[in-house]
Symmetry: D2
Subunit: 315 residues, 4 copies
């Protein structure tokens, strides 16, 4: 029950994985984090993605964490689980295991070895065969991490061949043209309409993506209320208000998007906001310097002021 | 005369190369562009960089364009010329040629083939040997385009061995820690203080970079007044005002930073502002769609309003 | 017991993982393959490497396969298990699990994200911390698959800091100079002497590597008797005879080294030789065409003739 | 006159660029090298390729060297000039200049920035437009140096759209299947038959490539008589003899194919054979160690003996 479908919209949070200071999995913070996301209006949660440090977890930890998130969410919103893997056997094993636990779908990015259009098509044909017709899956299009560049036409062809791919996690950049192309293909009737949630740069292009008919965001910026607010304003037809909200958070969102230390920034803020006990990033991973933290503090204070001066403060 | 030195500060514009709609070099617009940059307070100009489409020019065109810029600038500010090359013979040939024409220095990024620390040090040893002791040069540290990741310690060692390297164009990302490390090395007396101008993401981290003791920016965002204003406010000790200016332009600066189409966005805005006749990017290069242009128009209008509401409008 | 140590020498076979035609793990062939390697004179066996399709196995399959190999080997030779992983927690989990089953050591290559010398040193410091002082490990230096280029000096420094790293799997290319540099460092007393087994191009440089004081080969060419014979001739001081053997097999070894389809060629030959039931490569993986198989047949026949004409035939 | 056409066959030598010990262009050796190649039966010469250190030459040097080669060849065989460039303007400039000097055609590899099938097709459409209908060109398909992986279908489509592309320099690896696919496309009448010369690994797969209907080799192995002999034996229908010749040279050809130092090995041998005065590789470039040279000496002596024992010695 609660399976993901092509009508999904709004904000799916890319969840972090909370660790204690000694690097052990922090299950108590896992509960708090789920509450934090849901309290801020998340329409779904995605776990075990790149920003969830999935590859640093043992198989047992991944199962434990998934179970805990699913239990806490308790069916209130869909939970998507990252299942990308260099091999199809482990992808299938993980998928079957999390679907049985109650996940709503899995997310798959192409393997690093895939290069040509022909290989991309063959790869996703195999994904369809491996996952079967009954498991809804999300195609993650993120060339920066996979090295796989999928052209508009090929992406449309993949969607055409993938009836159980119900959602695109759109994070190719530049990607606005691709968004328009996919929506045009649906409008022409070439493919069924899928849900498109965007993750580009942690939401750095969200207003423009919504204008191009994205259905929402799937990203993990430490202020979920930004994405929730922007999506709501857009849904209400007030594009300028959507931008007002977006612009207020942008200086901080930008800072969080630094490659390499972004996750440390995100966890620092989430911990400061009380959602997790420790900002620990599991090794190998970055640490923030005092100067980094001073930057974040300044940006956080400026954000607070700006929200008040714009009447955007919801406290 | 007018040679670049380690005291350089402020804003060095990364100049575009103007083309007519048919793709030919537009020398008349070259003059207008120089005027535009200088009128907006540029402290220097850098030509034939990546954003200058240097590799799309014939050798004759590169010479012609350089000559035109130097003539128009006429010694008012330093002009730096990109001289990166896979081979040392062409690097030397270009350098000698532009220095004779009156350039103030050249900019060099490591070749793609360089990988280990040992290779990086050997590479810049050869650069020093090739350029000799009398030509000031800028080290461009831009891993995204070169694939060469220079650690803090290695960068400091390169600077130590390179007495005529007077400036670092800092665009590693994350790069704030590296900035702090280099300044600390100077403070300890390990290396002479060099000028550091930052180019990260077209200036997307400028306020934080100035806080870490950068001397200014070397980037090409279509609104030079942003960088000029931020640097001036910072120099005046008003960090919050520096951020106010920065924040106003950030939504547009962010849009201009999309990889792949960023240069087309930049040229579109510069052309709209009257600095060049045509936004043409030479092939192979991107074109903006109507939807892209609508995005830019909306962001430009929001910028104008915001400048007024913040009292930042200088018109 | 039977722990790997720095005195290891001779030929360690990189084992394939046998699959039935339907892609399922073939445990019966696993036994035959172990026998085949040992009958041909293997001094050790390495499993779950790149050529072992490790990342296509589920965790349960990897355990099952490891158990089967260890049971069949039954302590006659050391068994090394590949334990490279993007995260340290899964690396530790797998290591502890296989050491408990009776493995002789694990093999570790640096993660893809590692770039600078500083990062390389930090990475292996963490490996040492994670594995602890009691588990012997093999450093796999294979830039083609990892993207990590380790300079001679850095490799020597890693070895110096890693008392339980008892072996280098040497497959940097060109790598002869690196081999000489490491042996020189031991000779100077800078580092303890480690075992160096070479894997470059499936043994394509074995005679030269032995001349540079490698201790043997760790590779998986379908004719283990080539490596065994070359090592024996070299140990007997007959370099020309070592080359005679090598040269006879070279046309086939070269054919097996084609990137992308090499593993399919290897499994085809091993299956033809009766060591495994099916040449199946698990998906995603290559298949041989009829023309490829005709090539292999021709090369195999030429090999047989040549062995006879050179008096190298051992049948 | 002497324009390259689709009937080209045999051996086109990838020429080195001779430098004196001080790194200056050695024009006298250029003459000797041309004589050496032609005396050994070359059917054509290709200059300014990767192994010709093209990117280390100044524009003036490239012109001077081209002129010298063309003068010495004096129309006896076709001369192909490498014209790959990140920009179309310099590609056109160089092409026009060398065609005017008397080159028979140019060779073009795709730019590094090209990724998807769509981009590959667009890229070569532009090449066709830039070069026009009258200049014969060679498509260099070398993913290792360009990073551009062209699938069989896309390569066939490029050839279909490129009437003046008369030759494929085939160096994708594994590439035998691609060779078969292109010949099948010609046989079906989908595309005109082009000349296919192979360069894979410096000729390391030449016998198999000829079996798949390649027309010859375009590579620079220091013993052109190997490729000439193999092609002649194959043309005479004696595949086993072709292999006999190939096998004799293979240990040395393999040694010359080490990435990174291969060119230094090649120049060393060519210099030893008297074709050029110095083995100097222009900086940045590798140097051979005494141990490397001892390896080459041993392999050269073994080659000489083997040629005699097989009756292949032509001296």
């Amino acid at each position: 029950m609660n399976k993901l479908d092509a009508g999904a919209k709004g904000v799916y949070l890319i969840a972090v994985t909370p660790f204690a200071e000694d690097g052990s999995l922090d299950l108590h913070s896992t509960d708090r984090m789920v509450d934090f996301y849901l309290d801020h209006g998340a329409n779904g949660i995605t776990i075990l993605g790149i920003m969830g440090e999935a590859e640093k977890l043992t198989a047992a930890e991944a199962r434990l964490f998934t179970k805990r998130v699913l239990t806490r969410v308790n069916g209130r919103v869909p939970v998507v689980v990252g299942a990308s893997s260099p091999g199809f056997a482990p992808m299938r094993e993980l998928t079957m295991s999390v679907m049985e636990m109650g996940a709503s779908g899995v997310m798959v990015a192409p393997a690093l070895s895939v290069r040509t259009d022909e290989q991309i098509l063959a790869y996703f044909d195999m994904v369809n065969e491996i996952l079967g017709p009954d498991i809804p899956w999300v195609l993650q299009d993120h060339p920066v991490s996979t090295g796989v560049k999928i052209s508009n036409d090929v992406l449309i062809e993949v969607l055409k061949r993938s009836p159980s791919c119900v959602m695109l996690k759109h994070e190719d950049c530049p990607g606005l043209g691709k968004l328009s192309a996919i929506r045009a293909a649906s409008a022409r009737g070439d493919i069924a309409r899928v849900s498109i949630l965007t993750g580009n740069g942690g939401g750095l292009f969200l207003p423009e993506e919504l204008i191009r008919a994205a259905d929402g965001a799937m990203t993990g910026f430490a202020y979920p209320e930004m994405m929730v607010g922007v999506c709501a304003a857009h849904a209400a037809g007030d594009i300028e208000h959507a931008y007002d909200i977006f612009d207020a958070y942008l200086p901080l969102a930008r800072y969080e998007q630094q490659p390499g230390i972004g996750l440390a920034v995100r966890k620092h803020i989430i911990a400061e906001r009380g959602a997790i006990a420790s900002p620990t990033v599991r090794r190998p991973g970055p640490k923030l310097s005092a100067a980094d933290i001073a930057d974040i503090d300044r940006l956080t204070k400026r954000l607070a002021k700006r929200l008040i001066s714009f009447g955007l403060d919801q406290g």
